[in-house]
Amino acid sequence: MSKNFSRRDFLKLAGVGAATTAVLTGCGPASKYVTRQQYLEMPEYNYNGQSTYYATTCRECAAACGLVVRTMQGRALKVDGTANHPVNFGKTCARGQAALHGLYNPDRVTDPVQRTARGGDATTIMGWDAAVQTVADALKNNQPSEIAFLMGMAPDHLFDLVTDLAKTTGINAPVRFGALGAFESRTTLSKASEVVFGQASIPFFDMGGADVVFSFGANFLETWLSPVAYTRGFSNMRRANHTKQRGYFVQFEPRMSQTAAKADEWIPVVPGTEGLVALAIGKLAAEARGVSMPRAFAGVDAADVAVRSGVKLETLERLAGMFANSASALAVPGGAALGQSNGLGTAEAVLTLNALADNLGKPGGVSFSPVSPLNDEYHRPASMKEMQDFIQQMAAGKFKVLFVHGVNPAFELPASLDFAGASANVGQIISFSTFPDETALLADYVFPDHHSLESWGYQRAATGAAQSVLSGAQPVVSPYFNTRSTVDVLLAAAQLAGGDFATALPFADEYEFIQNKVSVLVGEAGGLFSAPDLPTFIAYFQQHGGWWKTEAGFVTPSAPDALNRNINVSEAQFAGEGEFVLLPFVSPTLGEAGANKPWLQELADPTTTVMWNTWVEINPVTAHELGLENDDVVKIVSEAGELEVPVYLYPAIRPDVIAIPFGQGHTAYGRYAAGRGANPAKLMGPHFNEAGDIAFAGMKVKLEKTGRQQFLSRLESRMGVYGEGMGEEH
């Protein structure tokens, strides 16, 4: 296969789409005849009416699942998982399925534009030549230290390119951020892992092999790290077969998340006491095992923990016994448990439980995901604290030009960090956003990147796979709009800018850059395929949707003295005034950026079945005490802001906790997202845990009635799901 892919010459077969929606009968389109535009030149592997399948990588989140996209006559029709991709093994989540609604979204940025005034809608279309010149000028006319890149979480080829650029030219290293990473408390997890296991990386929890899983807030069935991989793990854990019994799963969490709903036991702990509970279980488990008391757990008083956490001592003892007596127990820290002021201690305590269970590096235990090819270490996205520093630099006028790609900080960052305000002090903001999101509205220029399904690339899988994975991406359809790959833009601009920039990126186009990067794998043994030369390698790389080792490459954490160090789980601090702890969580169906995809909006939330909106979950007993009913709009007041959201009486949440999903509340981002729901990021104050992650679950808020009502669209019946119909059949 040559590098000049004729696929890139695909034509949009507009007529075919029209024909699809042609007459049913009756009042259909005026004519039954529709003109059909035929190929100018039919690709030799293509047949009319036959589908062509392309392997690529999902970029709806940073998990790097492999996708196979079915296309027909230049249109992408259906997304499915790549069958043997080590991250997802042929499976996809809802957000991956709906990627096509991003590709064919009616609100994409169609051309490179210059914004008349920041924050306004008015733009003028400029050609790509002028756009590249703008980027080149921005690179050339500013000091390297005045140039900053803000990028999405995915460790992909663009990140490598900008990193290379930064290394050679001295511009600021790219900063990667994503709201998902913040809600996952990735920094806390990797810091804790460094403290306990001596390696700053995201540990991999092999649920599939575990008999007992204790999850402390980790919502791994929803959005956490690599949800498809962890759902597979969960499924394997639950599935009994002749070699193993059905695994038992306990979730410690103040609110029953979708993950907790699947747990065999949900333990509604007081927010911020998860770490203490972990320590207590460790102590009781050590006692149950009859081993000498590890120092890590020695200092905790289980009875005191029971009082503080709201978990009965008997329950703690029973669970500890279960943990101690299981051949393969696993403890997972994550989610809101780490988004507390004491999150780091909590993470350490939970990770240490694994050391007690002696599962490190074993099947059903904790290991480190193998490092990706092309890379020797885990690149952690920025923590919220680091983002705060970045924004302070912006506000201080340190950056003359800011490039934004793959992230929507104006929406995803807490309003209290005031990204929008700080951006006023940045001379020039250039967004490469595919969609007209809030950040693109703040940018002077929007040079739209292709949609991920129209792009080349590769991406490393940070976690979730047993093997070392470099997931490959290729365009499955030709670009639908007048967009251009950001890598191509940067390469062309670098050449125009000359100097260090030109020498740093001596590539003709994105494709050559990728070839150059993956060429180190050509001779690599133990992979999915081996190729004698680069063109063959690239061909296989595209055919399989990436390159990965055939053997699992888990790294066993070395924790010789994990049990023998003190763990300090301090008292959780709550910012703000009020009677409720606010627990924001990422909407399992929308994720951080799904709000512009109509089918994701229409999916029922797995726990509440609400569609198309934001709600606040309140325990019915508490709500009735406050005189609140379903659909009553309440005002939530935190120290950082306030938000008006309709109430959902959620039977499985602690009475002292309220919860709001994150993902809605856009002010821009297309017709399906804008003006819909509310964004809890508005409520978050700049409070961090010891690792620098935001303490998003460490807020106290007040509730005020507004007297208004807003009807929440629910899939569930409003009269039949609480056992009115004598429950269900079984």
């Binding site: 007459v23 039954k32 003109t35 535009q37 190929y39 030149e41 039919m42 009319n48 009416g49 036959q50």
Partner: protein, 184 residues
């Protein structure tokens, strides 16, 4: 009041007015139906008979028929493969759209004529595999310039053949007369 209108309408003039109004409505409706059923003009008055006379097989230009649902229309490149060697192509008025398409890279907009409605899932492959020839459904192309359907392609026509072919074979009957074979 009503009586006066009735009376007026019973006059010769009134009757003529009623007649004209009725005719106008009727012809409008008839024209509307006729109009929506007319195929738009083909960009090129493609002489099928000439090409068939040269011995070009149907599947040369419509190869998809052997493999799947749609036989496909030839790409500009396919036309051009032969036509660039024919001197007349450059001068012929008839072929101007093809030359234009090659020059500008804008594909020729053909009008598919043998269409089934959207709710019919038709697949050429099994029909060809069952031994049907193109002309069995599409008529004698040696006599046609622009293709025209030799018969109305409606469900009764489909069914007739399906019934005929499956008669006496219960298994085939089940398959060929099943609603789900074509409608889903």
């Amino acid at each position: 009041m009503i009586k006066r209108i009735f009376d007026w309408l019973r006059q010769p003039l009134g009757l003529v007015a009623v007649g004209i109004a009725f005719l106008a409505l009727f012809s409008l409706a008839a024209y509307g139906i006729y109009y929506t059923q007319q195929p738009p003009a083909q960009p090129i008055q493609f002489p099928h008979k000439t090409h068939v006379a040269f011995g070009i097989q149907c599947l040369y230009c419509h190869p998809g028929a052997e493999r799947g649902p749609s036989p496909g229309l030839p790409s500009t490149a396919k036309c051009w493969a032969c036509h660039q060697q024919i001197a007349k192509t450059q001068t012929s008025l008839l072929l101007a759209p093809l030359v234009e398409s090659v020059r500008t890279g804008v594909p020729v907009q053909w009008v598919p004529v043998a269409q089934v409605p959207d709710f019919v899932q038709y697949n050429h492959r099994p029909h060809i595999a069952a031994g049907l020839n193109c002309e069995d459904c599409h008529g004698d192309l040696t006599k046609m310039t622009i293709y025209e359907n030799p018969q109305v392609m409606n469900m009764g026509w489909c069914l007739n053949c399906h019934k005929e072919k499956s008669a006496g074979n219960p298994e085939l009957e089940t398959k060929l007369l099943d609603c789900g074979t074509c409608h889903y």
